[in-house]
């Protein structure tokens, strides 16, 4: 049975990763990078430029003047927003294809929902910058995309077993494929130079381990994953995993907060759709 590394090796041979996304991610992590460096990269991609200008001129930023230059837009958006924008743009193309057992499109919708929910929880309940968790939400299931391309048959087997209630998804994957999407996704994104917390949240988002910090990226991702599943924005159709008791306790304490988040979610999703939706 192939290991996560074997699968990944084949994947990179098959398809090159979005160069712009990697470059921008590296720039975000580099203290010496300047907005000019971002501008140099962004301006090579007209789609990104359009999207960036749309983002900056959206009501979300509430700027009094229309921003028309790339350099200004880059400054207003900030590095992390920019990184997320580029990541969404780069990854969207990978989430294509649809069949009964595995739908990459549904997975994209799931990822987007988890990303938006994660961002909302981080900002509204924990008062944290939501950009990293948003990114974690967008890419947390990237491993499934890789598996779909390299070991599609086995993945479908695993999906079927999961739907029939033969265990949680990662277990089913390990039985059918030999590894699971959290491992593959972790290894893949490690090469992108993302923040450690984002990486470990990708690895742990299906782990039923004891939660130490409810406000960690991993916890928020798990909560958002649970909520998205309950809303039927699921990655793979099947039974929803139960929340760890610490997280259940947290929700009980913050009923009013979560009620508001659920109330506001459709609005946030519409906004995100406007910002990130493809023009095709």
């Amino acid at each position: 049975m192939p290991s996560a590394k074997d699968i990944l090796k084949k994947f990179t041979e098959l398809k090159t990763l979005p160069h712009v996304a990697i470059k921008v991610t590296q720039l975000v992590n580099d203290d010496r990078s300047t907005m000019q460096d971002f501008e140099e990269i962004i301006k090579l991609d007209p789609v990104l430029v359009t999207r960036l200008l749309r983002l900056v001129n959206s009501p979300y930023f509430g700027l009094s003047q229309k921003v028309e230059s790339i350099s200004k837009a880059v400054v207003f958006a900030g590095m992390k927003q920019l990184r997320n924008l580029v990541a969404v743009e780069g990854l969207r193309g990978m989430f294509k294809g649809d069949d009964a057992d595995f739908s990459a499109q549904k997975l994209w919708l799931h990822s987007a929902t988890v990303a938006i929910l994660s961002g909302m929880i981080a900002k509204r309940i924990f008062g944290k910058d939501g950009e990293d968790v948003f990114l974690a939400g967008i890419i947390h299931d990237i491993g499934l995309i890789v598996e779909n391309q390299i070991v599609g048959e086995q993945l479908r087997e695993a999906c079927k077993a999961f739907r029939e209630g033969k265990g949680i998804l990662t277990e089913c994957e390990r039985n059918a494929i030999g590894t699971d999407h959290t491992e593959v996704g972790y290894l893949l994104t490690k090469a992108w130079g993302l923040p450690q917390e984002v990486l470990s949240s990708i690895k742990s988002h299906h782990l039923a381990k004891q939660v130490k910090d409810v406000s960690s990226t991993g916890s928020i991702l798990q909560l958002a994953e649970f909520m998205a599943g309950k809303m039927q924005y699921w990655a793979i159709p099947g039974p929803t995993e139960t929340l760890p008791p610490e997280l259940t306790e947290h929700v009980k304490m913050k009923v009013a907060d979560y009620k508001i988040i659920i109330r506001d979610l459709p609005g946030e999703m519409a906004k995100a759709k406007e910002l990130y939706e493809s023009d095709e």
Binding site: K123, I125, M227, K230, V251, V255, A256
Partner: protein
């Protein structure tokens, strides 16, 4: 997909009645003495702080009535107390309340029912307030994040501003060092070029020497040869040699002139001279050959042009000779005129127009530009027919430019050409007595013999110069270098020394300086027969193949009184000897009888 609700998501986790319990707790706080029972939509029974017991049929009847009525429905509790039921959709559920007073009835619209209704609303609002507070808190957190992001943005921008500044400084520093480097390189290259230019210039001087020395011999000896008794054929050959040598010498002079002009080394003199004399001189040169050809040669100067002007008479003469020579070459009949016209006066200078007109073959319009170029004539056949190097006009063009004018030509094929240039002339101040005139005054004297010491290392030149000097009627003694010349002066007297500049052992410059030192030292002077009796300093004429201005200057600086270039031209030698020889020869003083 339908809009998600909180309950749909979290129903597994949470007790559905928890909220109703919260509400009861709030109500208990508002109405501590009332007994309360809440019946939920699912039929669950929830007790307040004081439980209210009702028989099941009574309770069900009350709940049913309350659901269908908008307001309170009265009933009786197990303990006989009155109780009232009301349905509230917000809870949602039916609330049954019993107050302490057992007998009171609550008619609809009474103050009591209103009071109770308000209390219920208050309890509900308190619960809603929790949501609002949470909502507010979320907003505050989001605002805080935005503020943080804003702060970070400013911080980022500042950091980047600093980064950019650093980069700019770094760039400026690099640029500076690059410029410094390139400047140094350019300086070095410039120095190299200057060195090369200097070497070229030295080469030029040496070439001039090397070429003139053999020319000296050829011209001199062919001249001497032609004066010996010769057969007609031999005389013809000798003349051909002399003519060829003369034309070669003029070519060499032309090339050197051009090289000097191009190297920017040619500087014009600024001395007073007689303009009419220069023009007449040129005309005199051509009048006889012109007459032989049947061509009339005339010259005319406007009377408004001052007689004596400032400038370089030699170069002006050179230009006029060149233009007249060309005119002569290409004119078979008709006439040639040199005219100097007054054009206008500007800034104290008289702008004059010099023209040389001929009635020769003319120049085709499409060749006019080419004739001013080096080594080019109107067409290839011209060279074959008329000879010449094609350097003359190129030199004239440059010389006229140096004089502040522009050489132009108007020409028509078959009718003739007029070359002209307009240059400013400045009248010479009256007090400057021209060197030329001074010299001219001396020309009237006649050569009357005397003793000359020729100092020359080259044997051929020794012979040639000796013969030329002897022909002028002087006695010659030869010394082959500077040291030897001093020895001669120790034992003999001379009227004049012809001193070659370039010689082995002691060169002409050093010998001259030595002689002047000796003259200045009364004790030392007594040892030299040739110097002690002299009342004036000994006349020393430098003799050099270097025709450059700086060579002449160097000769005078070393203490010489005259300067003669090689090859020695007989006429020039005669002139300078005549001029430089003392009025009273040493021969006469030595031997007064």
């Amino acid at each position: 997909m339908t809009e998600p609700t909180f309950d749909a998501i979290f129903d597994d986790l949470l007790d559905a009645n928890e909220e109703l319990q919260d509400f009861l707790a709030i109500l208990d706080a508002l109405l501590p003495e009332a007994s309360v029972l809440l019946v939920s939509e699912t039929g669950a029974l929830l007790d307040g702080a004081h439980p209210l017991t009702l028989a099941q049929p009574v309770r069900e009847k009350l709940v049913q009535e309350a659901r269908s009525t908008d307001g309170f429905v009265a009933g009786k509790a197990d303990n006989g107390a009155r109780c009232h039921a009301v349905y509230n959709a917000k809870l949602p559920g039916v609330l049954i309340i019993s107050c302490a007073a057992p007998k009171d009835d609550w008619p609809p619209g009474s103050a009591l029912t209103t009071l109770l209704q308000n209390t219920l609303d208050l309890a509900l609002h308190r619960q809603e307030r929790e949501m609002l507070v949470a909502d507010h808190e979320q907003s505050v957190r989001q605002i805080n994040i935005l503020q943080q992001q804003h702060g970070k943005l400013i911080e980022d921008n500042y950091r980047q501003y600093r980064l950019n500044q650093d980069r700019e400084k770094e760039y400026a520093r690099k640029l500076e060092s690059e410029i410094a480097k390139q400047t140094a390189e350019l300086r070095e290259a410039n120095a190299r070029l200057e060195e090369i230019s200097r070497l070229k210039s030295d080469f030029l001087a040496n070439m001039s020497h090397e070429l003139r020395t053999p020319m000296n011999a050829i011209i001199g000896f062919s001249e001497l040869l032609s004066e010996t008794p010769l057969a007609e054929e031999q005389l013809d050959y000798t003349r051909t040699i002399a003519q060829s040598a003369a034309s070669l010498l003029s070519l060499i002079n032309d090339i050197l002139d051009l090289a000097k002009i191009e190297a920017g080394k040619l500087e014009l003199e600024r001395l007073p001279f007689n303009l009419a004399e220069v023009v007449d001189n040129v005309a005199a040169m051509f009048k006889i050959p012109a007459r032989e050809k049947g061509v009339v040669f005339t010259c005319k100067i406007d009377s408004r042009i001052p007689k004596r002007v400032m400038g370089d008479s030699n170069r002006l003469r050179q230009v006029l000779i060149n233009l007249s020579g060309n005119a002569m070459k290409f004119t078979e009949r008709g006439g040639i005129d040199i005219t100097v016209d007054y054009e206008r006066e500007a800034a104290g200078q008289i702008v004059s127009r010099f023209s040389v007109r001929d009635s020769g073959i003319g120049i085709p319009a499409d060749r006019v530009e080419a004739i001013f170029e080096k080594f080019t004539q109107a067409d290839g056949s011209t060279t074959r027919k008329y000879g010449g190097t094609g350097l003359g006009l190129a030199i004239c063009l440059q010389l006229v430019e140096l004089m502040g004018g522009r050489l132009t030509v108007d020409s028509e094929v078959g009718k003739g050409s007029t070359f002209y240039f307009v240059i400013p002339l400045e009248e010479a101040p009256a007090e400057i007595i021209s060197l030329q005139e001074h010299k001219e005054a001396g020309r009237e004297k006649l050569g009357r013999g005397g003793r000359i010491l020729l100092v020359e290392d080259n044997a051929v030149n020794q012979r040639l110069a000796s013969i030329l000097i002897a022909r002028q009627g002087y006695e010659v003694e030869v010394a082959s270098d500077g040291a030897e010349s001093l020895e001669h002066l120790r034992h003999q007297t001379f009227d004049l020394v012809l001193m070659d500049v370039q010689m082995p052992n002691m060169d002409g410059m050093e010998a001259t300086r030595k002689i002047r030192e000796i003259e200045a030292d009364p004790a030392l002077r007594q040892e030299y027969v040739g110097l002690r009796a002299l009342k004036e300093p000994l006349a020393i004429v430098g003799l050099t193949a270097h025709a450059r201005k700086e060579d002449e200057t160097a000769c005078y600086a070393a203490g010489m009184n005259g300067f003669l270039t090689k090859p020695i031209i007989k006429a020039k030698l005669a002139l300078i000897l005549n001029e430089m020889m003392p009025r009273v020869s040493c021969l006469e003083t030595k031997d007064p009888s």
